[in-house]
Symmetry: C2
Subunit: 219 residues, 2 copies
């Protein structure tokens, strides 16, 4: 087992690391990550819920997100449901029940819904089949657009278009930015370290030769 | 201009939104994002630095990250440098100088280095050409593996393999997880809202039928 001894490690050191140490280190290198509960439903009507930290903004017009799906067992229901129904939801995680959100990462047998097992209520909107999390304050419904198989490590990058946004008006600032402090959104670093952020400031659009300016409005 | 009036908006509402409102809303939907300074160098030796919030964990073995590069003007130097040299760095952002990090998003003319202009020092390691940010506490050097052109919106997903990790030993927990509170890592939501997270807890690996357990160690 090779762990970090000095402040610098390179390729051969990384390859020689204990597997679990490497997973924890590499997963935590980029900092805080978007934390969401991913909701799906099978063609037979069985729901599925799993916590993910790999969703990323791909573009605003059309409104697109991407997310990485591992080839591992626990996500198979999710990816199969997305392929079968073409729909999924992303729901934020709150401090009151972040432990239940973490619990959705346990390897429940295929066909067991993490909604009921982990204590979440399903919420549906007309014209959209995938289940939202009733307890979340920021919820997004997505239509599958593309699945990119990554030959380099057998993961899949799933691209979805945002077709439903469920957010209370009070959480949205005048310019459209969601107030995640008011929404009580939790973030994660690495595999299992959960955090609640505190605002530093919002900054004005940056221009060459002009000092960075704080925006007064919180939202 | 159509903004959110009720708590639910769908595809046609999103398409009808004012462009800037849509950008702010869609960019902030997924919650907090990884915030990094992306360092590159041209073949002629001119460095470039820009703040990004689109880097994501792709896998631990091999150690891979992905990041979204927009087709827009300000990133052209960056993508050209990555293609030319095959290398780039990702460096975390600290509260003492997050405004300077934000300032790197300004549209400086091609050939002007944001290192000098925004007040950052370059740091180099033997055998690796791309510049690290001297002021950062968590720094990663990457080798280009793949560029995926996204036909759906003309962005590019850049895949890099982690070949250098520069982190002080004191910031790394026994299990390999980096302590981003000690590292003073800043996170971002939307385009310009900066935050400093506070720890809630770390949770043990989830197993079916076992209540979620807090881990005692902070790191």
């Amino acid at each position: 087992m090779t762990n970090i001894k000095s402040g610098k490690v390179s390729t051969t050191d990384i390859a020689a690391m204990d597997k679990q140490y490497r997973i924890c280190l590499i997963n935590s290198l980029l900092g805080y990550k978007s934390l969401n509960l991913l909701g799906t439903i099978s063609e037979a009507g069985t729901t599925n819920l799993c916590v993910i930290s790999s969703a990323f903004h791909l573009g605003a017009n059309p409104p697109l997100i991407g997310m990485v799906m591992r080839p591992a067992r626990e996500h198979n229901d999710t990816l199969r449901n997305i392929k079968a129904t073409g729909q999924f939801t992303l729901n934020n995680v709150l401090p009151d029940w972040y432990k239940q959100a973490h619990q959705t990462s346990a390897s429940y047998p295929s066909g067991v819904s993490e909604f009921g097992t982990c204590g979440f209520d399903e919420h549906y909107v007309a014209g959209f089949n995938a289940p939202f999390v009733a307890q979340s304050t920021v919820r997004v419904g997505l239509q599958l657009r593309e699945i990119i198989p990554m030959e380099i490590n057998q993961t899949s990058i799933v691209i979805g278009e945002i077709v439903e946004v469920l957010v209370n008006d009070a959480l949205i600032g005048k310019d459209g930015t969601i107030d995640h402090v008011e929404a009580k959104t939790v973030t994660v670093a690495g595999l299992d370290a959960y955090f609640l952020p505190q605002s530093i400031a919002r900054l004005a659009y940056a221009k060459p030769g002009i000092e960075p300016q704080e925006l007064n409005q919180p939202g």
